[in-house]
């Protein structure tokens, strides 16, 4: 059996890029959400949590419409920047960031909320700017949550199926991630290949989660 490693490589590339973007926008967003007093906060929180309850196909369907060059957002993106998100790797990244957003934001937001307010006050009184306070006082004290948020975001992206199927399709080297490849091979009655991809995902997911729980246990001691 000749093994095509591409779907697995693509899966982890997608997960890595998605997680990096999630960290860059999710952590500041979680901090903002933890501190904001705007009236719309419940609405924002509900919106962030939507991917937790919606069937992935619903999200995928609307993203497909949004990305399509036939409609205004996709058309605008195509016209202005020459980017087509439907059926492309970039489109998968955008969709994955949206889809995995609550998995990073929830633990990080909760951790920010649990930090005593006096830590921020103390840093301000000591003359530290907001950025210094954020980098040297707040972030280092939510490390376990940052860690579990990152891993959950990564693992959830690896495990994505519905959204990818809707907006990515099954293009080799572009959108054919491992979860799609399993479905594809199983449908073609190619059980050996399906079993290989499935086995690798199963094993790696277990290792990742095991690592998180072991690190968390050590952090609690």
């Amino acid at each position: 059996m000749i093994i095509d490693w591409q779907p697995l490589i693509l899966t982890f590339k997608l997960a890595a890029v998605t997680t990096a973007i999630l960290l860059c926008i999710g952590v500041p967003f979680a901090w903002w959400l933890a501190n904001t007093r705007i009236r719309l906060k419940p609405a924002v929180e509900a919106l962030v949590s939507m991917p937790l309850v919606l069937p992935p196909s619903v999200l995928g369907f609307y993203l497909l419409l949004a990305f399509s060059p036939e409609y205004w957002f996709g058309a605008w993106l195509d016209r202005e920047a020459g980017i087509r998100l439907a059926f492309s790797f970039e489109g998968l990244v955008v969709a994955s960031v949206i889809f995995s957003f609550p998995f990073l934001v929830h633990p990080v937001q909760a951790a920010f909320q649990n930090l005593p307010r006096s830590l921020t006050d103390a840093a301000r009184v000591l003359g530290k700017s907001s950025l210094q306070t954020f980098m040297h006082v707040l972030l280092p004290n939510i490390k376990p949550a940052l860690m579990s948020g990152t891993v959950l975001g990564f693992a959830h992206t690896v495990g994505e199926f519905g959204v990818v199927l809707m907006i990515g399709g099954n293009l080799p080297n572009e959108t054919r991630v491992a979860s799609i490849a399993i479905y594809d091979e199983a449908e073609a009655l190619n059980y050996a290949a399906a079993n290989f991809y499935a086995g690798v995902l199963f094993f790696l997911s277990f290792i990742i989660l095991l690592a998180v729980y072991m690190i968390n246990r050590r952090a609690q001691k």
Binding site: S118, D121, A122, A123, V125, L126, G127, K128, H136, N141
Partner: protein, 292 residues
């Protein structure tokens, strides 16, 4: 010289009230803000540090304007350089004791100050430990050292001793006094403990519902000038029991339990847990109710 004149709307447990305070403090004074919880003591302290915005007023510290609501001047806490000691100490858990002090140094400050403070507070042996591994009294010392590390012009202490037991508390009182004199730093302490105020402060301001209702030398204020006793103690009533035609009072003074006799009409005005002053006059101790 510090001149403060602030007002701010507060939402208390018993509805809204106005914080409305004006005071003047001389360089090197040790002031206590005294009063029950929820009268605005901590809010006043936070307004001074810039952690809360006073709606109206002005704060001038040694000629420097920190707040002037008419001129729309309001320095952020970062530029006020106060030393603030929080009720929960607010030590940074991710840094060691030394790390906490070094983080507090002003830009370009000499690192020797950290060593000096570690030595002054007798916490040199703890310098590489994380705050979570320290006892309450040790945390308190570190917090005080950190507050002083930033070379503040004003030291603000927000009930820092309330979580400690009596013996450690008494030791730390001495430390605070020693450091306050060493750096001759103007200090404001929030407290609801009469004995603490009498021991530390040279002036007490009694606050009620957002206003200063009384101020002066702590002993004079608390005894309200009613006595000319030879010696006096403050304590807390533990028990009131009838005894023939008189009443027996059991009072906790410091760590000692004292039993005194009082008249029925006097006893009727007293409640368990209230603070009283015992004054020895001629041969019989008198019992006077303290505070509000």
């Amino acid at each position: 010289m510090i001149q403060v004149n602030v007002s701010k709307q507060l939402h208390g447990v018993n509805g809204e009230f106005q914080l409305d305070v004006s005071l003047e403090i001389a360089q090197g004074e040790f002031i206590a803000l005294f009063g029950s919880s929820g009268v605005g003591k901590t809010t006043l302290l936070r307004c001074l540090a810039g952690l809360e915005q006073a709606e109206q007023g002005n704060i001038v510290v040694n000629g420097e304007v920190w707040l002037d609501s008419d001129a729309r001047i309001n320095l952020p806490p970062q530029q006020r350089h106060t030393g603030y000691m929080f009720q929960d100490y607010a030590l940074f858990p991710n840094m060691t004791v030394r790390g906490n002090l070094e983080f507090a140094l002003r830009k370009g400050a000499d690192k020797k100050r950290v060593n000096e403070l570690l030595e002054l507070m007798d916490i040199g042996a703890l310098q590489h430990r994380k705050p979570d591994t320290l006892s309450g009294g040790q945390k308190q010392r570190v917090a005080l050292a950190r507050a002083l590390a930033s070379e503040p012009s004003l030291l603000l202490l927000d009930e820092p001793f309330s979580a400690l037991d009596a013996e450690i508390r008494a030791r730390l009182h001495d430390e605070v006094l020693r450091l306050q004199r060493h750096f001759s730093i103007t200090t404001i302490l929030v407290s609801h403990d009469v004995s603490e105020v009498c021991k530390l402060a040279n002036r007490v301001m009694v606050m009620e519902a957002g206003r200063i209702v009384q101020q002066g030398n702590p002993i004079d204020v608390f005894s309200a000038g009613q006595t000319s006793g030879k010696f006096r103690f403050t304590g807390e009533i533990l028990a009131i029991e009838p005894m023939d035609i008189m009443f027996s009072l059991t009072v906790l003074v410091g760590n000692q339990i004292v039993r005194v006799v009082t008249m029925p009409d006097e006893a009727a005005r007293l409640r368990l847990g209230e603070r009283v002053m015992l004054v020895s006059k001629a041969f019989n101790p008198m019992v006077l109710k303290l505070g509000g």
